[in-house]
Subunit: 366 residues, 2 copies
């Protein structure tokens, strides 16, 4: 482990092994612990630091509160040939979402596509991980989830929706796959936390105060404010971001029998679950579509390469800022971090260290 005054660098294998030991300690099976660690490490490797091991102690605290079942009986509760609904039995979303994706891939292999709703689940990590499971089968994969309410609909000052991400993974030929993975809010909560820590302001359009006024103070969220939907303001199309977030909420929450809107159970264990819930846990919606069900796979990949090349070569506003193909920065980050290690900021290291001590586990932190 390398350590500076602000962060430490861990090897992927050290961090993976430690993460796995935590999931084993809280009662996960060996398979589930391996899988859950893989989802978290994928986030850290891809540079989505807010959704990797930085969240590990959060999952543990939810388990301590009895809100995560580490020995779940995940089962299909309703199905047709190309659709199904899964009850995750309170599982880690890190486990139930890959289960659902495997089912989506199997149905896609048989019928061309598979669309799976998952209810009674928990936070599933990065959406991109699940969507990307389809790639090795030459399928297009997607994954979405609802989440703790932090986002206000256009014209509202109330937190009604999560950052409700959606991810799509699309195979290419000689280039890396196109991987779209985005929160339907203007900014993800993790970016606000970075600004809070560094005592910086945030750009216009990320958040509003508890009274619904514009602000650039990242602390406004803690003080009862809300994140804004993609588009930020009504004149700039925030009603579209709201509609996309609503779509994720309805597909993930209503269709699966999970909670939706403001009833989605909060990720942080110190906030209580609301009374009179309309559903169970939170929900995901995932799917796969076999490319070959639409077009010859090699032709598709060749055309995706042409698509990628054409967009990379589009005329730039500034020669120093290239057009970014969705997924490209994460793929580069992964190659770099797999080689040189994963940086963790001091507050995350301190949090993981105290959690390891609480759980009486060996840990790789100095």
């Amino acid at each position: 482990m390398f350590s500076s005054s602000e962060y430490s660098i861990l090897t992927e294998s050290d961090l993976r092994e430690f993460t796995r030991s935590v999931f084993l300690k809280i009662g996960c099976s060996a398979d589930h612990a391996t899988l859950a660690s893989d989802v978290l490490l994928a986030a850290d490797l891809r540079g989505i630091d807010s959704h990797g091991v930085a969240r590990l102690s959060g999952y543990v605290r939810l388990w301590q509160k009895g809100r995560i079942n580490t020995v779940p009986n995940i089962k299909i509760i309703r199905q047709k040939q190309s659709t199904a609904t899964i009850d995750a039995d309170g599982a880690l979303g890190l486990v139930s979402a890959p289960f659902a994706m495997q089912l989506a891939i199997e149905r896609s292999g048989k019928f061309g596509s598979g669309m799976i709703a998952v209810g009674n689940s928990n936070h599933f990590g990065i959406a991109g991980y699940h969507a990307m499971m389809a790639l090795e089968f030459d399928m297009i994969g997607f994954a979405m989830t609802n989440a703790s309410p932090l986002v206000a609909p256009t014209r509202s000052k109330e937190r009604m929706l999560g950052t409700n991400p959606m991810a799509y993974a699309i195979p290419a030929g000689k280039y890396d796959p196109v991987v779209i993975d985005l929160a339907t809010s203007t900014a993800a909560n993790g970016k606000l936390e970075i600004a809070q820590r560094k005592k910086k302001t945030v750009p216009q359009g990320w958040i509003q105060t508890k009274d619904g006024e514009q602000t650039i103070d990242p602390n406004a969220l803690k003080e009862g404010g809300a994140l804004l939907p993609l588009g930020s303001f009504e004149d700039q199309g925030s009603h579209k971001g709201f509609a996309l977030s609503a779509l994720v909420d309805i597909f993930s929450g209503v269709l699966s029998g999970a909670n939706f809107g403001p009833w989605v159970p909060p990720f942080v264990s110190f906030l209580d679950v609301l009374p009179n819930l309309p559903g169970k846990g939170l929900g995901h919606f995932v799917g796969a579509m076999e490319v070959d069900g639409f077009i010859e796979t090699n032709e598709f990949k060749r055309k995706m390469d042409q698509w990628i090349e054409r967009f990379k070569n589009s005329q730039l506003v500034s020669e120093s800022k290239p057009v970014i193909i969705p997924g490209e920065p994460e793929t580069m980050q992964k190659a770099e971090r797999a080689l040189n290690g994963i940086p963790l900021i001091d507050s995350v290291v301190a949090d993981l260290t105290s959690m390891a001590e609480m759980l009486k586990l060996d840990h790789p932190f100095i």
Copy 2:
């Protein structure tokens, strides 16, 4: 017909009959003419004036140029159980997209879901029309299409993408269905045209100049500028709008064997199609999913009612501005216009009148 100095009001039936006569005149079958008119009238009734009869002469001009085939042999060219690709044979998208939706609905009835790519097609009107076809079967419907390049990717000054809309229609119980129908650009081109006509500026974040600079001049688009993706600027998440537009382009264009990106044939007949096209025409992607394949239909509808009520009752920033459920304004507009008629601005009336005279058709305009 009522007429003022700025607009005339036509009855739905007069406008429908006239529109149908135009499609018949350019060679459509009776069924196709009825269907194509229904799609355009749905736009006018729902208040999406830019996509209704205002576009009728545009379709006619494309037909005159030989770019629309009014006697198409629309056929399935590849399929699995729950997926298919359709070659629209150069048809009006107003005809090929409903054909594809019918197939999606049929497959959804058999297998739970149906996902259909459509290539070799043309402009399909409002996306919402096609998505809503699924509603009467208690299915969720969706439709997306690529379109004439007008939108620059984040960091580019080149028009590489259409306003690439996506629509989702979701059944509810006692309330109207939730109908999401949005361009993945910050603003649709129609809104810019209104500002140009009224000689007004547009809000920040709608367009950039040909050099990629911010502007509020709606004429910048005509002068080689570009529309901006939802999010408008990089700090406000425009890369997400770009990614969503890319998704629509890849699903509609690449998967279907149609053109994609800057190669999508322009809607306006005075712009030529580019050489060395990678595909045929433009493309759509539509689908349907049976609610019953995931959850008991009445339970879903009851929960959708709860979802709608809770969002309508969320705390408002300003008491005079209610939260809008997606699709609500269009449903209200439709009820009003079905009763009181459809207003057409003078320039549209003049355009339709001269087209009627050119085609030697009776028309309802004074």
